[in-house]
């Protein structure tokens, strides 16, 4: 390449160039500061008012944003047969990732989202959810007593509970040295576990379980307690292979992992395939979570979303789903349709004694959330 010859520039060109540079800098400065304001203010796309794009060609499709293993082809097929609506399912593996997608506007296409209880509360506060029109819902009276007026969303104004469960440990009883009853086993056997433990990729679950083990609340807001939990988790670090919400199944079944912290629903799914495995709710207590169905304000197809919620509320559909996917339903009428075998399955529907030890995760003030985040980043970075 011939080098640029500076003598080629005329004087006027240089001055004009300077002027252009200066004005470009000024313009970009203005635009930049506007952009930052766009990101932080209430103008963020996720919270924006819905664009009523009634002309969208998607009247016969419904995009659903949910956790892995909450739906299957048969469910979607039945839904299509009944309503003529083609449901398309996409999955996320953490509430935070879901929230980011919704906030950046990447989730605009979804008409149904499955956030967990405490995220529902946050999303309501952020004004992201459509209030549900009760007159368009059928079967909410079938919900179990506990979910008629849940703490995270009193009176179910914005959400309908879909799946609930506990968080616990899954393992092969043959491959652990003594009986596993809870987190004691894990901390007592750090050396032996030597990177054969996987934990859920969720800051609140991991810290909550540790806090409970230390005798504090799952939702502690005290800096000293959170720090103590962090220190405790650091002790455990040599035992942790990886943080995975899903995806540990294959490794656990083949024995590469000895123990996995898992949501009951995922654990039960695996136990169906590998019956030698066992799931327990730790003695020290655990979280009781509810994943709900909500309609975001940006939903392109709220009508289909109501159809979906009503479809899921039907006891028959719900019961069949429990049989196929081993999810715990909050629907009393569906529960009554189950075989007594399933009804008495302790993992699926834990006894009152077990549930008494469990807490729901609640949203925390933002400075506490930041504290958790900081420790979480530190924990996953060392």
């Amino acid at each position: 390449m011939p080098p640029t010859n500076p003598q080629n520039f005329s004087v006027s060109a240089t001055t004009r160039r300077r002027f252009l540079q200066a004005s470009a800098a000024a313009v970009s400065g203005i635009v930049l500061s506007n952009c930052a304001r766009n990101l932080s203010g209430s103008n963020a796309p996720g919270t924006a008012s819905p664009e009523q794009t009634s002309s969208s060609p998607s009247d016969s499709t419904l995009r659903i944003f949910t956790w892995a293993n909450y739906t299957d082809d048969e469910l979607l097929k039945n839904f299509k047969d009944k309503t003529g609506i083609q449901a398309i399912v996409e999955t996320f593996d953490s509430n935070e990732a879901m929230l980011t997608k919704m906030q950046t506007g990447a989730g605009k296409a979804y008409s149904i989202v499955f956030p967990s209880d405490y995220k529902v509360e946050e999303m309501i506060k952020m004004g992201m959810l459509l209030p549900l029109d009760k007159s368009r819902l059928k079967g909410t009276e079938n919900l179990m007593q506990n979910w008629q007026n849940p703490g995270y969303d009193p009176d179910n104004t914005h959400s309908i509970p879909a799946v609930w469960g506990t968080t616990g440990l899954i393992f092969d009883p043959e491959k652990v040295s003594s009986e596993v009853k809870g987190w004691d086993y894990v901390w007592d056997n750090v050396d032996q576990l030597n990177r054969r433990l996987s934990m859920i990729n969720d800051v609140r679950e991991v810290f909550g379980a540790t806090l409970r083990y230390l005798g504090y609340s799952y939702n502690s807001t005290k800096a000293s307690e959170i720090e103590a939990a962090y220190e405790k988790l650091l002790e455990l670090k040599p035992a942790i292979a990886t943080f995975l919400t899903n995806g540990w199944e294959d490794q656990l079944a083949s024995g590469d992992l000895a123990l996995s912290m898992a949501y009951s629903q995922d654990a039960l799914n695996l136990i169906q395939e590998s019956p030698n495995l066992k799931y327990i709710v730790p003695e020290s207590g655990s979280s009781l979570w509810t994943d709900t169905m909500v309609i975001p304000k940006t939903a392109p197809n709220p009508d289909a979303a109501y159809e979906w919620i009503n479809f899921m509320l039907e006891p028959e559909n719900s019961a069949r789903l429990v049989e196929r996917l081993k999810i715990s339903t909050p629907n009393q009428a569906a529960y009554e349709k189950l075989s007594s075998d399933l009804q008495q399955n302790e993992n699926l529907f834990p006894s009152k004694a077990v549930l008494a030890k469990c807490e729901g995760i609640v949203p925390l003030p933002s400075e506490v959330t930041e504290l958790y985040d900081r420790y979480w980043t530190q924990l996953t970075s060392t």
Partner: protein, 301 residues
């Protein structure tokens, strides 16, 4: 824009370099579309994250705080600094590994292999590059897991099993595997141009192969080694897939950390932006070093 146009290589003839509207429009038409695209979707976004990186603790949907260097200072906290160092360690290690493994291959293909097979050999070596990098990394999970292929093989030979998955060795293997083809490709190009008469002359003068290798082959291919090294260094420094799939809980790298800050659990966009800027800075430094070094080596006769 005031322009002086020259057809490449040749000096402009007087007649054609006169004032003519087409002379101005042509370069503008050719260069403006790509230029605007790059400005809008590359330069501008980079400036934007530079700005975000200067707002400590910036989170999406929350009011922005005052400007400050908090995000950059955070990087110097022992934990994060360790992550930066670990990323550099992975990048340097994989670069050396690729060089060590790639040189003999490139040397053999470029110099020892039959001439008409060379292209075919080279293409078949880089062929795996054409499959999904995710799937290639995933394949290593199957091989490296404790009950996987590697340990079954080691068991057959009576060797002790290795537990490499979810640890640094897996990251090194995965990165070397991902970037070896690039290294071989670049080293091959440089070895192929090697002046073989020098080697013959050295042999005639009684140099041992080792001597001629270190005195002739290596210095002659130094630019190739530097270019290949830089490429692998940059690619492995910014790699996300391999550490994410093979690294486990204790192999956090800068790119995983950035991903977590944006799409993962922590959502601190300000900190994530400052990490991105650091990554860009690291890459720029590597390139600056190469340019300086490249100038020096080309200055030598």
């Amino acid at each position: 824009m005031s322009l002086t146009t020259t057809p490449s290589g040749a000096e402009p003839t007087r007649a054609r370099s006169g004032w003519h509207p087409a002379k101005l429009i042509q370069p503008f038409v050719l260069l403006a579309p790509a230029g605007i695209w790059l400005l809008l979707l590359l330069v501008f976004p980079t400036l934007l994250i530079l700005e975000l990186s200067l707002i400590p603790g910036f989170r999406l949907g929350q009011p922005a705080g005052a400007y400050g260097l908090g995000n950059y200072l955070e990087i110097f906290q022992p934990v994060y600094f360790q992550v930066v160092l670990r990323s550099l360690f992975f990048a340097v290690g994989s670069t050396l590994l690729c060089l060590l493994l790639g040189f003999p291959v490139a040397y053999w293909i470029a110099i020892k292999a039959p001439r008409r097979w060379r292209n075919l050999l080279l293409v078949s070596f880089i062929l795996p590059l054409w499959t999904s990098s995710l799937l290639r990394a995933y394949a290593w999970i199957t091989i490296l897991r404790p009950s996987g292929l590697l340990n079954s093989l080691l068991g057959v030979f009576g060797l002790p099993g290795q537990d490499w998955l979810n640890r640094s060795p897996a990251v090194f293997i995965g990165m070397a595997y991902s970037f070896l083809p690039y290294m071989v490709l670049i080293l091959y190009a440089s070895l192929e141009r090697l002046d073989r008469r020098l080697l013959e002359a050295a042999a005639d003068l009684g140099a041992t192969p080792q001597q001629s290798f270190w005195k002739i082959t290596v210095p002659q291919t130094l630019p190739g080694i530097a270019a290949g090294g830089l490429l692998v260094f940059i690619a492995s420094l910014g790699d996300f897939v391999v550490p994410e799939l093979l690294g486990g809980a204790s192999s956090m790298t800068v790119s995983r950390l950035i991903y977590n800050q944006f799409l993962g659990a922590t959502r601190n966009w300000g900190f994530g932006s400052s990490l991105s800027m650091i990554l860009i800075l690291a890459v720029s430094i590597a390139i600056a070093l190469l340019l300086k070094y490249g100038d020096r080596s080309s200055a030598q006769p």
